[in-house]
């Protein structure tokens, strides 16, 4: 059970709604509701914005492909014992 109330999508401003739409193409997945992490990060656009841009820059294919980077993310999550 989350320790904070996750806001409903309708509670976010239009700019955040656009980001939620973009996350569908980023994950190539048609979410019914934006993922909890996206909703948390959109609480404070001045934090979530640059954090999200840094994430996107880190995950974009370069010397390593996006798929390879997803594996890196998976092992980091595993070592941190993060189920989410």
């Amino acid at each position: 059970m989350p320790t904070v109330r996750l806001r409903d999508v309708s509670e976010y401003p239009e700019a955040a709604q656009k980001l939620f739409e973009l996350s569908k193409s980023w994950f190539a997945y048609d979410f019914i509701t934006p993922p909890a992490m996206s909703r948390v990060m959109a609480w404070d656009p001045e934090f979530g914005g640059p954090h999200g841009r840094a994430m996107k820059r880190a995950m974009t294919s370069g010397e390593f492909t996006r798929a390879e980077k997803e594996m890196v993310a998976a092992v980091v999550s595993g070592v941190n014992a993060c189920h989410y």
């Binding site: 320790t3 994950f27 989410y84």
Partner: protein, 172 residues
């Protein structure tokens, strides 16, 4: 790969030379030296933990076989595996592992930009995992990557229970 990376890091970081000195290579027995030569060929150097483990040549030999199997080119490339091991070592704060696997990444041709990509992903997901755990977020993306019923190499396909009775899934 994650497991054996940690296995080497634990010995390297937890047993420094002043606690349990590595066996001088020249004094190792023939069995251990043969394994150490193989390790040097694979890495281009002889990582210190293997010299510590050379006290027991049979243990060294079996452990090395497992490490080599985990890191060899198979479905995933060795290049990617060294990057994953670097990320594991950074995340588990292993000074030995971070330095060793960074050196191996460079040896396999990964440049500064590639190294920074792995540092960036490791850092970003160290952030996301802590946010998720602190807020106790429930996983809501499981449908993207559902549990893979494919068995481990040599294993039997998973038996999936359903109201209609058990049936097997996975690659046959």
């Amino acid at each position: 790969m994650v497991g054996v990376t940690n296995a080497l890091n634990v010995v390297a970081d937890g047993l420094p030379a002043d606690v349990l000195p590595p066996v001088p290579e020249a004094t190792a027995g023939a069995e251990a030296r043969a394994v150490l030569d193989e390790i040097r060929d694979f890495y281009g150097e002889l990582p210190a933990p293997f010299l510590t483990l050379a006290r027991d040549p049979r243990y060294l030999s079996d452990l090395w076989s497992a490490v080599r199997r985990a890191f060899d080119d198979q479905r995933l490339t060795r290049r990617l595996k060294e990057a994953l091991a670097f990320a594991v070592s950074l995340t588990s704060r292993s000074r030995f592992g971070a330095g060793f696997h960074l050196a191996q990444m460079r040896r396999l041709g990964i440049g500064d930009a590639g190294v920074m990509e792995i540092v960036g992903v490791t850092q970003m997901f160290s952030s996301y995992t802590k946010i998720a755990d602190t807020l106790q977020l429930e996983s809501d993306m499981a449908d993207i990557a559902p549990i893979d019923p494919t068995p481990a190499p040599g294993g039997q396909p998973a038996v999936v229970r359903s109201p209609a009775g058990p049936h097997r899934r996975g690659r046959q």
